[in-house]
Amino acid sequence: MTVQGNLDRNLVLAAEDFDLQEFRALHKFSANDERVVAKLIAHGPVLLQGSRGSGKSALMREAAERLPLAPNSPALGVYLSLRHMPLLRSAGDEYQRILCELLIDRVNRIVSESPYSFDASPTLSSVQKGLTDLAQILQKRIVLMFDDAAHIGREASLADFFDVFRTLGSSAVSCKATIYPGVTNFGNRFDVYNDATVVDVIRDEDQPGFAALFAEVVKARYPELAERPFASDLTLEDFASFVGKSVLGNMRSFIFACNDVANSEDKSVGLPTLGKCFLEMTTNFYWPLIDEVKPKLGKYVPIVGPAKDIAETLLAECGRQQNPSVIIHRDIISRLAKAFEILEYVGFISKRESSKAMKSGGRGSRYAINLCMLLEHVPGTRLTADLFQKWKMRDDEPVQLHSKATSLATIRLPDLAANQDPEILNDPVEVLRKSPAYPYGISDRMVEKLHAAQILTVRNLYEATEQQLDAIDYVGEYRVRQLKNVVAQAIWL
């Protein structure tokens, strides 16, 4: 495999896209992660909450892999990714039927090479009975792990999903699902705190094992980077810890940052390398990311504009003071809540404390600011040794933004329309061209070929079967996979 091939392989980011051997080799878990995995394996309903790229899928897949269909396994794990277009577009009985079909298919695949069988028709009651019977035969619990159930662009299905989640849970069946902080709508019939335990995927620099975890990830994913010389003011552990902190503990962003540093031509990795990486991440990763996410947000699309304004205000104020921590008055937070949730979701900010006293009275929430993005707003835009030490030590009092004294006071959120499908589905297929938002996007020539095959929209491309795509001149097995990956990135959060 070429160097480029290796790098591309390193940027496979979704846990579900790895085969088991690669998954095991490349995914590392801290002591806190191990406790989360234990909660996923243990009995009882759990909602795993975390922002995009925080590692929810990896934790869920790891839990499922530890529960094989084997005599010494305490339970049978069933991992099911719900990245399935018909689910996005259906509601009520239809949604339940499709979900049941997916689940039946998944369980049948797991038991297919064993003496056991799983008989159920695609209704909730039948699946419930089938799972209970199977658990009885196996003499062990079944743990259902629903990944990617929460798609914030489409709320109607989520109420249906949580009906299924609650109904299937029993003494023999444990349900687990991944959700996004704040933006997941559970519907009226699901009480999130009574019907499940919510577990946060938190990775902040104050946690024990934070630096060690990110250093392990560098060694596993970028051994060549771990072997490279570091400048005198930096060690591998410093590098991993600081970059991990800079991307607010987000594993996916961390991989992108490491990839950028690994591609750097600097002879040794030092603060200038990191500075360049941070500016590159800001321009070609974070800002494109919010544009990539925008068309998937359904009725929340109009909030992205104000969310960007909020980000600019926070970055300008915190950058001016070179301070990566800010307390924002709760009146502002409650008025602009959805915009803050979107900024958290894309990793621009991360809430560290819900309520903290402010100097001038009142209370606010404390957020950590993404250091990659902050650097661009620091006078001089250079990661100097002083700035590195200052951000590493974090001794400063947080910046405080009060309800009336900042430009946040003038930002207003628009009224929202009723439920809408994510607009990305109706966008022309050209939006998937290679760009900062879609670094592995399609070429102009591919666009032409798709047009010729009457694949004109993102929806058309998603719905095309692999056979249909393979039949297009110029598209072979490799490009079918590329097309499916890029369209999945476009649609799913």
């Binding site: 243990a42 009995h43 335990t197 946690q207 024990p208 921590s325 974090r394």
Partner: protein
């Protein structure tokens, strides 16, 4: 003493009936914590299923009684008095005995302050709304303002994401869920083998959640102006040591 015992029970009392109660609760909690940790580290699946839920539930009961006693010694002293009475009959349920619903949860919809509650309407359950309004919200607010950013480890990181107004609701929901799950194991509700549902990892998770619950309530109580401060020791040190010790 285990750091979590000191955190929950406070310093030993030197004299009087409350010293006797404190000593009993602290010694009991200490043994429960040590036994549960040993059970967890031994990892015997059958032992964990049989004994783990009992140890976890007893840990919660004893620790929450101790915390209640620090806020409101009236309740535990009343129980003591009833138990010392010559009419005390071990065969008959003691109407004053510690009770999960009336001493921990409280009623679902207690009378609001604006509704002019009488003394009988004011509840004294540890996690009830009235207790929250009188003690917990103040203590929790004081704590999250006082604890430095880098202190308290994982348990504190989670607590800091809770709003002061939501603290008790969150603790009550959590406590009720853990207690209920542990109780199913204690009462041997299952006629199928216990290990089918209470496998080792589930019991360890329940024990871990029990310790975290006790730790969260204990550390918060230490920031209440009503509670006598710990002598010569920082409660945050105990809180961090508890996590290190229980997860080692």
């Amino acid at each position: 003493m285990h750091p979590l015992t000191t955190l929950a029970c406070g310093n030993a009392k030197t004299s009087g009936a409350i010293a006797e109660v404190h000593s009993h609760l602290a010694n009991s909690l200490d043994r429960l914590l040590v036994r549960a940790r040993t059970l967890k580290n031994d990892g015997n699946q059958v032992d964990l299923a049989l004994f783990g839920p009992s140890l976890g539930r007893a840990t919660i009961e004893v620790a929450l009684t101790a915390i209640l006693a620090r806020f409101d010694p009236f309740r535990v002293l009343a129980i003591r008095k009833a138990q010392l009475s010559t009419d005390y009959d071990a065969k008959i349920r003691n109407p004053l005995a510690f009770n999960w619903t009336s001493d921990v949860k409280g009623e679902d919809n207690p009378k609001d302050w604006a509704s002019r509650p009488g003394i009988r309407d004011v509840q004294r359950a540890l996690l009830c709304k009235h207790f929250n309004d009188l003690f917990w919200e103040e203590a929790f607010t004081a704590m999250i303002d006082a604890v430095p950013y880098h202190r308290g480890k994982t348990w504190m990181a989670k607590l800091k994401r809770i709003n002061p107004e939501g603290f008790v609701t969150s603790m009550r929901t959590n406590a009720d869920r853990i207690y209920s799950e542990l109780s199913k194991g204690v009462h041997h509700e299952f006629v199928i083998p216990m290990t089918a549902q209470y496998d080792a990892i589930t019991v360890v998770d329940l024990l871990s959640r029990s310790w975290e619950l006790v730790g969260s309530l204990s550390i918060t109580s230490c920031y209440s102006p009503v509670i006598k401060p710990l002598e010569t020791i920082d409660p945050l040190d105990l809180y961090e040591e508890s996590q290190e010790e229980l997860y080692s």
